[in-house]
Symmetry: C2
Subunit: 343 residues, 2 copies
DNA sequence: ATGAAAGCGCTAACAA
DNA sequence: TTGTTAGCGCTTTCAT
């Protein structure tokens, strides 16, 4: 409850005016070195801390950015946030995090909460459920800089930082082919989610590039959940001519598949190969360990934050630069796809 | 860039004054129902959104709370944050999250950043490294309500919401005893961290209650990391008379232990039993699956947030209620400790 | 029941 | 180089 020191407290102390003190603290060019010096000393002595709220009200900048993530339970997103914070912190910017839990409504509410908090910009990874994008368009119209990361959407003209999902899927599938698997299935995610669609395309392209037929019956219309993976296992093995490997759209579904296949008594990777996507933390610890595609999460967060901060800085310059940063997927091949070396 | 509607915009529209509009919007008792009605309508029609920054400056409340967590990579904390947000959201309060990454310095900087952002209160889970607590005492002195969750510290008089670590450790150890294990080791964490100390005490108490000798050589001075668990495996098995089970202070060390023991060719749970603590997400997916103690994470977050908000509301009432909420640990016994049923 | 006026703490235009 | 003045948008006395 100690009364906080304000600019005018310092001003009074030094027989200056609040404006001068403010300028000195903000390193304004035309303040004498001597004044700056004494102001800085007084500020330190009196434990002055700038009131960001007052500053924000006046300057119109809150020095906060918002982040909307589908879930804190995938440590993929935790990792991206880590990257975001590392950039924000160096610039004295706070990060407001909101979870959508993959729900459209919570995403909309999150956008409103962040705008109510007057954040200077928002980083978004779109929820699985979302098919209407007007809440993003509205925010843009109000002049709030937006950047998508991982889960983006075209045709909105909103900058994004993503991994090359097509290429990642291509590499994952090709790895299975190189390991000698011949009937390679795919657990697909909701196709309105761009990353899921791109991964299906990458899978198909890898088959074609390697002269393997694409069989629609080998694509399971699944989801990015463990449950979907389990269901896929049942489906694949009930086929008259079952696959001997699968590329899953995401690690949780890959995990469900792995468990399902194991429970059916098939050897992994000997009789069935699996590659997932996202390189979730648990992948190292399953048995067999799970091959996956790393998405350079920390870098993704850094790039997204840098891009957003740049957009915020350039605001009003009429730039509207619609950048699209595409990161390289990094394959992490572990036991689950290593037939050549393990069986 | 659309110019935002303000109170006076609405006032002008209705031939009222900003003060009246403000009161109407805040449901002030002595504003005529009729006026309230028309103000509400106009506000909606003009897409009015209260400027929280101005409101904060005037009222001295930022309607934001801060959370400091050691790491987003343990989904234990992700889950607690989920609970926190669920409470905060219903009250229109934003949550600022900062990671300490278990580092003292980042924790101190985090506290400063949150205070600079003028949060109304802070929830803290103390970093592993922290042994000096003056940054918390300072914040308290400045009148910032504080609540610890999970990682707390006595002798500071700061309210906390924790799980009964002693009891959890007792139950975990006793479970191993009941399953027929007789030489039960413990991977201990840094003893200056209260939860680690309490768990060691609980372990010792369970041995005593069951008339088993406490052997100091069976306590490995470890850490809450996978690496420590691996080292413990090596240490335990190098003993002249090795243990046949272990209770690990935390799931990551339990995981390291599990991997180490498996690599040495011992059967789990047949030849070696393991119980961890925290019920991390991966525990379900290891093989064998990992027994653990659940800490009611979401509830913990809700309780902590409710307590903090209560403290904020009561501020000035000279209450200084130093609550301490202790949640019940929930054992989750899986394969890794199930000798009786599995071998 | 409503208006008038002041002020939260800071910053920015304009003066000097 | 520094001071003066005004105002960001809201809330809150005090007055009517």
């Amino acid at each position: 409850m100690a009364p906080r020191t304000t600019l005018s407290c310092i001003a009074k102390e030094l027989n200056l005016t609040a404006a001068t003190v403010s300028r000195a603290l903000n390193d304004h060019p035309k303040i004498s070195a001597h004044t700056k010096e004494s102001v800085l000393q007084a500020a330190k002595r009196m434990h002055y801390k700038k009131n960001r709220i007052a500053s924000s009200l006046r300057s119109g900048k809150s020095h906060m950015i918002g982040v909307i993530i589908p879930s804190t339970q995938m440590n993929f997103f935790g990792s991206v946030v880590h990257g975001i914070e590392s950039i924000a912190n160096t610039r004295g910017i706070n990060v407001l995090i909101v979870q959508s839990n993959e729900h459209y409504l919570q995403e909309v509410q999150g956008m409103e909460a962040l705008q109510a908090a007057r954040v200077d910009g928002i980083l978004v990874s779109i929820a699985k459920e979302t098919v209407d994008f007007s809440h993003f368009r509205d925010a843009e119209k109000r002049g709030i800089p937006l950047v998508f990361f991982d889960r983006s959407h075209d045709n909105l003209g909103i900058p994004s930082v993503v991994v090359d999902d097509y290429k990642g899927a291509f590499l994952a599938t090709e790895n299975l082919i190189r390991q000698g698997y011949r009937r390679i299935a795919h657990i697909a995610g909701p196709q309105h989610v761009k990353v899921c669609h791109d991964r299906l395309m990458g899978y198909m392209a890898a088959l074609q590039a390697n002269h393997l037929p694409f069989e629609p019956s080998l694509v399971f219309a699944g989801d990015i959940t463990l449950e979907a993976g389990r269901q896929a296992a049942g489906y694949f093995m009930s086929l008259p001519h079952p696959p001997d490997a699968a590329f899953a759209v995401e690690d949780f579904s890959a995990l469900g598949l792995l468990k399902g296949i194991k429970e059916m008594g098939l050897a992994i990777p000997g009789e069935f190969g699996i590659v997932g996507f996202a390189n979730e933390g648990f992948g190292e610890h399953t048995s067999p360990s799970l091959s996956s595609i790393d998405q350079q999460t920390v870098l993704m967060g850094k790039e997204a934050a840098s891009l957003l901060l740049q957009l915020i800085d350039e605001q009003g310059n009429g730039h509207k630069a619609s950048a699209r940063i595409v990161l390289d997927p990094l394959p992490v091949y572990r036991e689950s796809s290593g037939r050549k070396y393990n069986s």
